[in-house]
Amino acid sequence: MGRGKRDRIVAILMLLPSIILLAIFVYYFIGSNVLTSLTDSNVVQRLSQQPANYVGMQNYESLFTGTLNGRFRIDIINTIFFTVLFIAACLSIGLLLAVLLDQKIKGEAIFRTIFLFPMALSFVVTGVIWKWLFNPSNGINVLPTFIGLPPIDFDWFISQERWFEFNWQDFPVIVSIVIAAIIFAVGVYFLYKQRTPTAYYIIGFALLMSVWILLGGAASLNGLARQETHGFNLALFALVVAATWQMSGYTMAMYLAGLRGIPEELREAARVDGAGELGVYRYVVMPMLAPITLSAIIILGHISLKIFDLVFVMGGGDNLFIDMPGINMYFTTFRGQEFGVGAAIATIMLVMVATVIIPYLVSSLRTEEVNS
């Protein structure tokens, strides 16, 4: 390009304020938060202007193993169940609606507008409205009676029922088994797809991990002295319904954009080859939507890992059956004034989100470079 060197310097100077602001507000603050999480910073020191003491990993340890921090372990379990259900619901509803709208339907624009409008609302508004809809005695529970059916018998977000109960002391083993199984499945998938040596390495790693679990390696990670029962709190269904109501239109929009990007000639070619309408979807459309599914999982996943507003409105910080790390962090820090512990929860949240987001950012920008 024939543009001057001086202008190039001007360009960089114009970007510089944003870079500096983000460097401070994102990276410096993250670093500072991590440092706070390694101290016992609390309200007494703040008021008396005393420096906080360095306590190493103590805050993290007590979150996972301290008798008083059972709330955080509930949050972790809740996050896992909520994330899985929320993503599954959004993906299936989003895909179904997108495929249906793709059938050259009359009034498509109206349906699309209806399915997507909750995205324009605040989670606070959603929470306030659904809180009333979930009212056990008069809310959506009575809707079936209008067509002569018995009412729904479920307490939604104030339900105290629990499924799949397990002891937290077994948690490291359960998680390790799940991770090993996933790695194994990925390995088998690669083996089936392309027979590269990488597939054997992945399977080998999964087997090695299984041996480690069998030898008691995972069990030794438990640090909790006493038995502590956790499980899937059914109250989470209320959060899943409300959050899916709000976000499934987003997945629909992503899939719909993907469907519109598939050239009609490709489908036509499949039809000429003798594929029926279902075959066209099975062999042409679905494979092309796979990358969208991955993007959607990551976007929805990072939203559910940091969910805050909806739970705040519905549970107010007191309802542990739907509690989440984001809520716990807020109340620990700004009500309880335990800055060290709050910072530790925040750091764990960041690590969870970063493991999902960083590979996505890297791969997504890399493919962009290849394409351009």
Binding site: F25, L96, T113, G127, D273, G274, T333
Partner: protein, 300 residues
């Protein structure tokens, strides 16, 4: 394609009837889902138009016998300062972050420099982090910046903490990744030749921006402004932690819904009022809203 149909050929009229049946089924499913999405809207409308003496939980699903604006009146009075604060927040927050995003996108798409491939993803990461992970240092930082020096013995009369100033700054900074991303992708589509022509005519960095880039930026600005407006209006975590003295509309709504003494028809009316601005934008400019939405999934 192995899915060759081996069944006996069906008569055309039979096929046509099948297709009609499938179409009917599709409509039924779509309408059922539409009812699910509209159910909360229905509840809000029938409840907020009921008068206070007409409201009881046991008659939640009944239509109002007479249309009353009473609950809107009460709700508006409760939300008034929250609405005003949100307006005062959302205008500067949206404009500053959009303008900076436009400049950043222009630099990153048309003035590629060594290291840009590293800086851009580092900037983008800022829009995915859970804001809890920067909240404690952010609050401390805002407290440490003195805006109005204290008189007499007081060290500082007003800092950036607790009011809209700090909240505006916060939204501008954390809005930068998405606004930069949208504008960068938008300007990527502008052919370099257009700028080359301007450069030959002697235009520099600002000249090219002012005379070539800015005039074609309107659609980009519409997408970004809508996106930022919606995000800032709906945001809750920052508002509730760093601007308690100037509660925004979401905080005011949450306070209302958390209080035991407020009638629930008022709460519904308040939720409706808080949602109106972003809903209007969505209904009137939905196309651009969806573009911003999809830009958030990076590749769009």
């Amino acid at each position: 394609m192995t899915a060759v149909s081996t069944s006996a050929p069906v008569s055309p009229s039979h096929a046509a009837r099948n297709r009609r049946l499938v179409t009917l089924l599709i409509y039924i499913v779509l309408i059922l889902f539409a009812l699910f999405y509209l159910l909360p809207v229905f509840l809000v409308l029938i409840t907020s138009f009921k008068s206070t003496e007409n409201v009881s939980l046991s008659r939640m699903w009944e239509l109002p016998s007479t249309v009353s604006l009473q609950s809107f009146e009460v709700a508006f009075n409760e939300l008034r300062s929250g609405l005003l604060n949100s307006v005062a927040l959302v205008i500067p927050g949206t404009l500053f972050s959009s303008f900076l995003g436009s400049i950043n996108g222009y630099v990153l798409s048309k003035w590629r420099f060594p290291g840009a491939n590293i800086i851009f993803p580092l900037m983008l990461f800022g829009m995915f982090i859970p804001y809890q992970s920067i909240l404690i240092p952010l609050a401390e930082f805002l407290r440490s910046v003195c805006v109005v020096p204290g008189t007499g013995g007081a060290a500082c009369e007003m800092t950036l903490f607790g009011n809209l100033l700090g909240l505006i700054l916060t939204h501008v900074v954390y809005g930068l990744p998405i606004t930069t991303l949208i504008f960068r992708n938008y300007y990527m589509e502008v052919p370099d030749e257009m700028l080359e022509a301007g450069a030959i005519d002697g235009a520099g960095f600002f000249g090219l921006y002012r005379h070539i880039v800015l005039p074609i930026s309107l659609p980009g600005f519409v997408v970004v402004i809508i996106w930022q407006f919606t995000q800032i209006w709906n945001e809750f975590l920052f508002s509730v932690t760093i601007a308690q003295n100037s509660p925004t509309v979401t905080v005011a709504l949450q306070n209302l819904s958390g209080s035991q003494i407020v009638q629930w028809n008022v709460q519904m009316a308040a939720a409706f009022l808080a949602a109106i601005p972003t809903l209007l934008v969505y209904v009137l400019l939905g196309r651009y809203f969806i573009r911003g939405l999809l830009a958030g999934s990076i590749k769009g």
